[in-house]
């Protein structure tokens, strides 16, 4: 299952009156069915806000977001979300967490026994896919951060959502665990066929995972540049050292420094140390 997303003039301010903060300036973007799009940018660029708006967790001040042509109204089962952390239910085992949505009315309407059996098989398949078989009956507190995120992803996939939204899901993981998760999520994208929108502040992660990269810039938060990733659909870790990968990484990093004001910070720093050297002399 898959779906397209169309973002038209999405505009967002937090607060009211003169103290209102503009979080996102009119953003326009069309995401194709089964596309893997990554949002990258410095903090305050509105990437998480835009993702949460697609998820229906944040309202739009103006503009519209449609999924398969239908405007979204709040969160829905067609758009599953994976958070950075603290989203698992610590009182439920891994299996119970993954099957959580099966307790909800939105998933139990007109349920037949065949459906129940299918769901049970689905949960088992996800546990195997995510490499969670040996911890299926453990509680989240007993798992490492990487394993916890596998559970969160499996739980989000349980209801076969056409769209998977991921908000810096690997941000708190160590570098080695991250690499494993990257290949895992690409595998999920291939076999599940869902549209994936992935937010990250890590440029390498954005390039390795995405088919297209949306670079966002702060003050006010906005979409700055779109990049097509010049890598084949099948990817492996070695590609991170390929010339076209490194060239794109340099281009994006430069653009982030330019738009985030980091460049001026660095110039300031250079000036300060020059002055200090002068004083010493």
């Amino acid at each position: 299952m898959t779906a397209s997303i169309e973002i038209r003039d999405a505009f967002k301010t937090f607060g009211h009156g003169p103290r209102a903060i503009q979080a996102l300036d009119k953003a326009n973007l069309a995401i194709r069915p089964n596309e893997f799009v990554t949002f990258v940018g410095a903090s305050g660029c509105g990437k998480s806000t835009l993702l949460r708006m697609i998820g229906g967790l944040e309202s739009l001040t103006s503009g519209s977001i449609t999924v398969n042509g239908r405007p979204i109204a709040g969160p829905g089962v067609d758009r599953a979300m994976v958070f950075q952390h603290y989203s698992l239910y610590p009182w439920l085992t891994v299996t119970e967490n993954i099957k959580f949505c099966r307790q909800l009315k939105a998933h139990t309407r007109d349920r037949t026994s065949a459906d129940v059996e299918k769901a049970s098989g689905r949960a088992d398949a996800l546990i195997r896919l995510m490499g969670l078989s040996h911890v299926a009956h453990a509680y989240p507190n007993q798992l490492s951060g990487g394993m916890q995120q596998r559970v969160a992803i499996a739980r989000a996939l349980m209801s076969r959502p056409p769209i998977l939204l991921m908000d810096e899901p690997f941000g708190a993981l160590d570098a080695q665990t991250r690499e494993v998760m990257h290949d895992l999520i690409r595998h999920v994208h291939r076999i599940e066929g869902s549209t994936i929108v992935f937010v990250t502040h890590d440029v390498e992660e954005a390039i390795y995972l995405g088919q297209r990269i949306v670079l966002m810039a702060p003050r006010p938060g906005r979409i700055d540049t779109l990049y097509d990733v010049p890598l084949p659909a099948e990817r492996h870790q070695d590609m991170k050292l390929a010339p076209e990968f490194l060239a794109l990484k340099r281009e994006i990093l430069d653009r982030i420094r330019e738009t985030s004001g980091m460049k001026t910070d660095l110039e300031q720093l250079a000036r300060l140390s020059a002055e200090a050297a002068e004083l010493e002399a």
Partner: protein, 272 residues
């Protein structure tokens, strides 16, 4: 945990937040308990210290014995426990749902939290004349005083427990299609449960501290009443006995809650 001496020669006993040898822990804990008892015993045996002024541990123990065998201590314990538990349970029955809604809905919070914050600073003791006027001087009035003493604090603590449920847990449920009712029932309540049990434990302790106050109201039984009556007859040993017994019962109940907490929420134990 083994306690090693660091290269700078500072013993683990004096290092900030450093684990100490379990044997050291128990020795220190025992000292902390025995030292005051010893000090009390010595002070009461000093020349010129009147037994009426400061009875010794042995006098208090003897008094507990006669109280238990001749003066109806079990009945006093039973009626006092009943009053405390009834007042506390009544406030829990109302505070739990109310706190759940205050913590979940900003509108309910705006409506009720400022008022509750205001009332909780009013002294429960000062409500005694009003309680006697409105509730009478029967059992109900003692329970009412304990209720007033615990309820308003409890509501605010329950609301805070509910607000501490991580937003990501709630939002994850929303993106899985959970309704508001389902989020309350299947996410917020189970997630807040361990904190709620702790709140119940702490407020139970406060309920016990209001016992003596509650038994100021036309009581003729109970531990608090016994302390008050002993004051009138200058039975200092009985005052000591009553205070110690209330403390002891409180400690036992507190440990019971802690045990229940460990049994009810095994998932809180982290990675090993």
């Amino acid at each position: 945990m083994s306690a090693h001496k660091r290269s700078d020669g500072i013993s683990p006993l004096w290092q900030i937040r450093t684990a100490i040898d379990p044997r050291h822990y128990w020795v220190l804990a025992l000292c902390g308990l025995v030292a005051p008892l010893l000090g009390w015993s010595i002070a009461s045996n000093l020349d010129g210290v009147d037994k009426v002024f400061l009875p010794g541990p042995a006098d208090v123990l003897a008094r507990i014995w006669t109280w238990a065998s001749e003066d109806g201590l079990p009945a006093d314990v039973a009626i006092s426990t009943w009053r405390v538990v009834a007042g506390w349970a009544l406030s829990a029955v109302i505070a739990l749902p109310l706190g759940l809604f205050i913590g979940s809905y900003r509108s309910v919070q705006a409506l009720l939290e400022p008022l509750t914050d205001f009332i909780r600073y009013m002294p429960a003791v000062a409500f005694i004349p009003l309680v006697m006027l409105w509730v009478g001087i029967e059992e109900g009035s003692k329970i009412a005083i304990i209720f007033i003493g615990t309820f308003f604090q409890m509501v605010l603590m329950v609301a805070e427990d509910v607000r501490r449920v991580p937003l990501a847990q709630i939002e994850a449920a929303q993106t899985m299609g959970a309704s508001r009712g389902e989020i309350l029932e299947r996410v917020i309540v189970p997630s807040a449960k361990p904190a709620l049990l702790d709140t119940l434990r702490v407020t139970m302790g406060w309920a016990w501290t209001y016992l003596v106050v509650a038994e100021l109201v036309a009581a003729n039984s109970g531990l608090g009443y016994a302390v008050l009556k002993a004051q009138r007859f200058l039975q200092t040993d009985k005052i000591f006995a009553g205070i110690l017994l209330i403390g002891l019962i409180g400690l036992v109940i507190d440990q019971g809650f802690r045990l229940a907490h460990r049994k009810a929420f095994p998932y809180l134990a982290g990675r090993h």
